[in-house]
Amino acid sequence: MSTAPEKTVPQAVADATLNAALSSSARPPRPSPLSAAKTFGWRGMLKIKHVPEQLIDVTLTPVLFLVMFTYLFGGAMSGSTSEYLQFILPGILVQSVLFTAVYSGVALNTDMTKGVVDRFRSLPIWRPAPLVGAVIGDSVRFAIASTIVVALGFALGFDAGGGIGGVLGAMLLVIVFSFALSWVFTTVGLLMRSPSAVMNTGFMALFPLVFLSNTLVDPSTLPSALEAFVNVNPVSSLVTAARGLMGGDASAEDIGLVLAEAGVLVAIFAPLTVRLYRGKS
């Protein structure tokens, strides 16, 4: 690691500027919980700006998935690549964004090893603000990943029966679900010892859920035990709803189910994360 050269000779440190800086800080009123959380969201944005590498996974993986699956399986699965694209685009959207959610846990785990967390915890702010802010910030990442998938889908010739409204609705639903799933990974992030352990655990858990779903294949072609699993897999319900929204034949029931699942995840894992975060020291 390179250290920056110190050109400024701060003998200036002990002089009038310092005394002025020390004396000119009347205490402002405490920020509201929302404003504190928003500030942490802003911190998340800055990290994306300064460490754009972490977006590469987020952007590259969906592109690879979509192109590979479309052209590799398209002919075999649906007779033509364009027809298969119609089928898998909503599924790839779900898949890409869900994998991104693992990074919420990785980022939190990394944060906990740094001294800056001590400072946050010694501030007079709403205690869960750093967590809520980080997860809100992560939603921007979900939005980026989903925009890339959808844009590429259109470029490859996807025909949205649900129109722009349907596509945006599907994206929003996926982002909401991923926001909920983020809380699962922040819990994992506080339980695991290292960022890479969080990443491995997260991906190991997501792989079967994402692939043993109706993302890539029609579940009716599966052996019955597997089909039963696929049908109760929450990822399947999300894919079904997203497919419905994009195709223009969404049912309120499907969407409601996804929102309910998201609500359950948040209700269980958000308090759990906050509890673990508070007890951590």
Binding site: A4, T8, R27, H50, K114, L123, P124
Partner: protein, 323 residues
Amino acid sequence: MTATLAIEATGLGKSFGKTRAVDGVDLAVERGAVYGVLGPNGAGKTTTIRMLATLLRPDSGSARVLGHDIVTEADAVRGLVSLTGQLASVDDDLTGRENLILLGRLLGYRTKQARVRADELLAAFGLEEAAGRLVKNYSGGMRRRLDLAASIVVTPELMFLDEPTTGLDPRSRNQVWDIIRALAGMGTTVLLCTQYLDEADQLAGRIAVIDRGKVIAEGTPTSLKASVGGGALRVRLVDPGQRDEAARLLGRVLEAEPHLEADPSAFSVRIDDAERAADAVAELSGAGLGLAGFSLAQPSLDEVFLALTGHLAEDDDVEEAAA
């Protein structure tokens, strides 16, 4: 309630598993002073500071910080103190300026005010040029200065500093010391944890010496030194073979037990009255013992520590990082 003391701790204790990291610490720190907490690694300094800064819950005893209980009124305490931890408490992935704006906003400034305050602090701490660089590219001294700047975005009434100069070069260390003096000059109470004896000696008006989770001595640097007695006369001979004879002689003249050093030609003898050193040295020459050199040293806090604990203020391999 009248809170005359900045920190008032009684029997503060904390265990991690079987390790009793802090074992009944009592502290009484006056407002507006720099108070040193001195001890080797693993003595329980960091754990104590983390309890007082409300980051850790004590499992025995109690403490009031600026009149507020650290457990039941933790939020009120947080509103009045700031903490500069052992690991610099700044965000490596942000620029120096962003770090300060972030804290300004978290403390309740509007974005614009937070920016103004950040720039003011960057200028005061000589970080203007580095303001737009990521903190991970900062030198150790720059990180520490930013860390201190972050602690005074809003001037705290009490500042906890946990080993603020560990790992810094002498020049950066002096800068940090200047900042601490300036802070104290403005009336902020500073609780300074350090394992450097000269640091406590230079900055603190009072010092608590802490070892194995307990306060073993408390007082002004001068009184602590006095409790150990005067200085020591150190003598180095030309011929190591004469050491025993010379040590016996000086021991008799100065009425103290000579201490043989690792260097086979050197020894030292405690001396209460510096005036007698000249006579003592003259006696050596008179006896035909060749001197290579001699020196008269005031007791250092190192010696204070040795006298108080029976061991040196070095690492004793107790893990405190986890605390």
